[in-house]
Subunit: 271 residues, 2 copies
């Protein structure tokens, strides 16, 4: 991978990287589209990173279908797919981890200990293997974006982090590779996340600034949804992920499936 | 720095990096010589890295003389000196650390908690800023070499780590920027480190393989030296820094000054 990247660089071609765990949906393809518009070469990675999953999480059952992913990447005009094996990424004896403290600690960091250390480590490795000019991440994983931005600044990785808006289903549900886990009842219930974000954004637009009032709006639909178990619902600063702020973030369980979503309340919620 | 490096790379020129904390001696210049022979462009860094010093260590009094260092680098035909400020390397809010477990834990890792995390973090940053083809480290800091090799493999840093033999005074004392701290009595006593390594190597050459016997030879002179306080004296594996092995490693205090030295017993000790 690095040989190919350095050849492209020698030829003066700019490189955009779209890191994914495969299981592609239209959100990933929107990242590829942004990369295609801004770079000469587009590399997409597909790697289900074991070290960002905790014990009891869904590493084993995470959906994998490289043939389907490769066809979708090809259709989206990706130039190269980086698909390392686990043995290549974490050979026997590998013992290095990249840890971002601060922003990686609250919310997702608390709910998923070790998750962001796994993310920071694999993102560093993807960046050193691909040496991209730009890398594309979805706003859907807002805290991951903040961790990666901090990481890139702190380790001088020289990669421009581009953040692409969340792609949603018609009813508002944010696209996620984990949505396939939902049964029909859970799928119907899951609209409560985006409904809460929409309600909080509407209240903000109408002038509401009280954190508890906004939080109550965020939880309005979720509280009435028997299938939803709210893990957190907060309004935080988008760099530190601590209150106060104007980024509404949600993590909710439906049965065994855990979904997250977020919205910056200073902006109108998309129709 | 990265702009300059990427320009050199576009021109097809290979880049060798010599990371230093300044306070140059002939050991550093030997690294520069090796880099000069093997690369089109030689970059030397001079940065006293605060995060690899523990509380109570010599960060404040570590010798600094950039004018002298710059003159010595120029004389040795270095093309560029990378001399970042602490604020550039660790700006307010920086919170990322690179941690290598395993090899970084025994010996120096135990004696200097956090030291190798500081080393791994700054080396990663130097490599991402310079993007060298090769980087040059002294055998004198043998455990640092093992940590950096592990780091480079684990994070796919794509840098060839070159290890250069220790340069010694005529009486055997390994060159170190910390030797200037020694008073004349301590300087005379400090020869006990290399004398121990020489005695252990002679015993090994004569067929001795018993770890305790070899260790006794290592300590023969040090035990008779009232100014020397031995911190550790072990014979370890050069990749894991755990026994058994054939790399003799020493850490010894003379007053407030802490010196380290090592020798691979399968090789004759230099005259």
């Amino acid at each position: 991978m690095l040989d190919a990247s350095r050849r492209w660089r020698r030829e003066g071609r700019s490189i955009g990287l779209v890191p994914t765990m495969g299981a592609l949906h239209a959100g990933h393809l929107s990242l590829v589209g942004a990369a295609r518009r801004e770079n000469d070469v587009v590399v997409a990675s597909a790697f289900v990173n074991p070290i960002q999953f905790g014990p009891g999480e869904d590493f084993e059952r995470y959906p994998r279908d490289l043939d389907r992913d490769a066809a979708l990447f090809a259709e989206a005009d990706v130039d190269a797919i980086y698909h390392p094996s686990t043995e290549v990424m974490y050979p026997s004896g590998a013992s290095t981890r990249v840890h971002v403290s601060g922003v990686s600690e609250p919310l997702e960091g608390t709910a998923r200990p070790g998750h962001f250390e796994g993310v920071a480590t694999v993102v560093t490795k993807l960046f050193t293997a691909v040496e991209p000019d730009r890398a594309y991440f979805g706003q859907k994983d807002a805290q991951q974006v903040a961790v990666v931005k901090r990481l890139v600044r702190d380790l001088d990785l020289g990669v421009n982090i581009r953040v692409v808006p969340t792609v949603r289903e018609r009813d508002g549900l944010a696209l996620s590779s984990r949505n396939v886990y939902l049964n029909p009842d859970e799928r119907r219930a899951a609209v409560a996340l985006s409904a809460g974000l929409r309600a909080a954004a509407a209240a903000y637009t109408a002038g509401e600034r009280g954190p508890e009032k906004l939080r109550a709006r965020l939880l309005s639909r979720l509280g009435a949804e028997p299938l939803a178990q709210v893990e957190y619902a907060e309004i935080v600063d988008p760099e530190t992920f601590r209150a106060p702020g104007s980024l509404a973030v949600l993590a909710v369980r439906f049965g065994k499936t855990r979904l997250i979503d977020n919205h910056e309340l200073t902006r109108p919620f998309p129709e």
